[in-house]
Subunit: 458 residues, 2 copies
């Protein structure tokens, strides 16, 4: 039967791509209030696509922020139920001047589709819908029960879906969740991700003098809000990248020896990683750990942005009164976000420079997670993935955060298959984000294989 | 005769104020290119005012940037020549939301005139012109020879006037320069400033990865441009405010014991300075030095502004590729700006964090200065100032920078009378800048007295 869905995908390539492009053209940037109408258009687009694929009980569910989209198809009694998750919101596109083609005009180049959201996550979540469409077109029905829950706040903390899952566990009951929002380890290498880092995102504001002061008349005696914030943030890590906030490493678990061993066999060139993905003069980080360990199994403290004082053209000699930074911690399994937040607040209090007031606002917090690779759904997914791509599936972790996976575990008691078709150089959150066209088609095939084989049982 | 000019000022208060208001309404912000037409309007306004006061040979002199205004009146043979300097350009008005009344609509409140440029420097430079007008109205002529050279780039480095002075030393020949661009030590206390700090203003740019990176996928291994810049800048000073850049203090001269002693007798309340002027939780700075020493006779390193990464609403999890900061050194007499720049560049090279590239661009540089209080023009100015305000004149320094004073010394070989009528809480460069109305009128009187007495000879 899998051959039939493969053929369906091959025969419908142009239409499947054109529909995706239409989806991507909607600039559904969740963090910018002026894009709220686009958020609503994207939610409707998802609902319509689910309906056309034959899904039932379609709902666009209002929330405090951006709507959720729900659908189900439950006509396979005795078969397992898969809960498909994805997000229709995207990151902002700035800096705009660095895009080769417009961020919301999907453009084919070098076998890729370039636009914001192609890989993260519109291109990937849309494959789930298209796999359903392929299975229904070929068989007239689905091989198992399926639910969809798609959100529009993944890039801004996902508060609404977290609350919805907590309050609708019965409605969402399933055997496993399926998420395609991660990357393959390397081009052509089928990959399942079995570990994710968590995230605490915070805003830090510093105030110094009551107003911007003339740096000639007050310089040397008046505190400077920018300098105060800089001084504090610079203390958070030493020059090797080791976090200096007491207690941060307390609950950090080392990866199991077998897992660490398997990572050492993955093809990885630090020189390529540096030159082709990062593009800086050197890498940084804890010197006694491999790069994969640093990004997969170690917590981080990162400054995402900072602003304060005068930065226009020319010169202005002020001692700034205010400064603000956005920072985050990435968390690994077993670190308790609440404990990390408390440790951070204590550290800020203890290290606030003289004359400066610092306030910390936590925007969101989620824990890190690991999934057992022996779960039946994971085994079937690895099998299907390997079939379509013609290579054995490898198991990796991701340094990124998908908070909803924690909500599925906590409230539905189910593991998540993290079956991602992105590539490491897709440029998520960056200018010129792209998604490999071939992975879009093969991804739809893989997901259809997974549904069929998981439905067929052991 | 002085009584006559005093009476002229008293009888013409309203007109003298209305003309100043008209001048201040021109938003001649020199650092913002969109205000270029206002710069030209302000230059014309100055030229017209000089003509109406009876000055001759009026020129609006084009430069590479903003025009200079020149005028002279040379009909007092055998008498000294005073070169009057001022600037018609102003600082930007942001942050706009903190102004009580609009920044370019001069508004009378509590005996003050509120608007950008009231104290720095339109309100002060305009007094020179009005003093000329008063003397001509009362005597039909001036008691000495006068030249004016007014610039429109003081807030952006003053490159054009520096070049003009260097190239036109003959034309500008004078016995002394008169600058009103400083503050009185305290309300009602006549003050001559005999020392200024110099300024080196620089822009520092940091680059890390070749593009903004996803902080989940790369965090822990990729360098962060904002963190790199923060780490560098935080090393520039220790937590007491002592600059850590080797060589910076090498040429710094301690104030003479007599000068330091006289400062200790000036009325100064650290508590008031903190609460009413600075408004932060505490002061900072070298702990073994008084506040006046710190701001008058010690070099500083200040961060005026910083920007990098994402600082919009909500959260974005990027590792920023770029960051920029504006910084300055204030220099005291005998520090060589070129040596400080070289020391700074060396230090930046030696402290650039791993994986980060740093570039430094120097926007301008001028040395610190001291003037001999025994010069005849200074003694006469102290006498005139004390007469009008009814108290003995005190001698202070200012922590600010007036680069043109250095150009007068270097190219014309003349000292400068720094006779300022501002007050310490005028809010230069800040929202709600103001100038005390009474000081405007008394300032005109004082300058007229100075011209008469300096013209009368010893």
């Amino acid at each position: 039967m899998s051959a039939a869905t493969d053929a369906f995908v091959s025969q419908n390539r142009d239409r499947l791509l054109n529909e995706l492009k239409e989806f991507i053209r909607i600039p559904s940037i969740s963090t910018l209030p002026e894009h709220r109408p686009d958020i609503d258009r994207a939610a409707s687009f998802v609902a319509d696509s689910l309906a056309r694929a034959g899904m039932e009980h379609i709902e666009v569910i209002p929330t405090d922020k951006h709507p959720l989209v729900y659908a189900d198809w439950m006509h396979a009694p005795g078969k397992p139920t898969v809960l498909c998750y994805g997000h229709y919101d995207v990151q902002p596109a700035d800096p705009l001047e660095l895009w080769t083609s417009p961020p919301f005009e999907p453009t084919e180049r070098n076998g890729n589709l370039y636009a914001r959201g192609t890989a993260d996550d519109k291109g990937q979540m849309y494959m789930h819908i298209k796999a359903i469409e392929a299975l229904r077109a070929v068989n007239g029905k689905l091989p198992l029960n399926v639910k969809f829950l798609i959100e529009g706040e993944e890039e801004v903390g996902g508060a609404s879906i977290a609350r919805y899952i907590a309050e609708h566990a019965d409605k969402l009951r399933a055997d496993v969740a399926l998420v395609s929002d991660t990357a393959m380890y390397a081009e052509g290498m089928p990959t399942l991700c079995i570990g994710l880092r968590g995230l605490i995102y915070a805003e830090i504001e510093a105030s110094g003098p009551m107003r911007d002061l003339h740096s000639g008349l007050y310089g040397g005696a008046a505190p400077n809000a920018v300098s105060g914030l800089i001084e504090l943030l610079a203390k958070a890590k030493d020059d090797r990248g080791v976090i200096q906030i007491p207690g941060i490493y307390d609950a950090v678990e080392e990866p199991a020896p077998a897992e660490r061993e398997s990572w050492s066999h993955l093809p990885f060139s630090e020189a390529d990683f540096l030159a082709r993905e990062v593009g800086s003069g050197a890498l940084i980080g804890e010197p006694d750990r491999s790069v994969l360990e640093r990004v997969w199994s170690r917590p981080t403290f990162e400054v995402h942005g900072i602003a304060g004082g005068f930065t226009g053209a020319g010169s202005k000699t002020v001692i700034p009164a205010q400064a603000v930074a956005k920072v985050s911690f990435r968390l690994v399994p077993r670190q308790d976000p609440e404990k990390v937040i408390a440790a951070f607040r204590d550290w800020v209090r203890g290290n606030t420079p003289q004359g400066i007031q610092i306030s910390v606002r936590i925007l969101n917090a989620s824990p890190g997670l690991v999934v057992n690779p022996e779960h039946p759904a994971i085994r079937v997914a690895a099998q299907a993935f390997g079939e379509v791509f013609g290579k054995p599936t490898v198991f990796i972790r991701s340094g990124g955060s998908i908070p909803v996976v924690g909500d599925f575990a906590a409230h539905l008691g189910i593991p998540t298959v993290l079956m991602g078709f992105g590539l490491p150089d897709d440029g998520l959150h960056s200018p010129n984000e792209k998604y490999k066209l071939e992975n879009y088609y093969k991804g739809i095939m893989t997901i259809a294989h997974f549904f069929e084989q998981y439905g067929a049982g052991p």
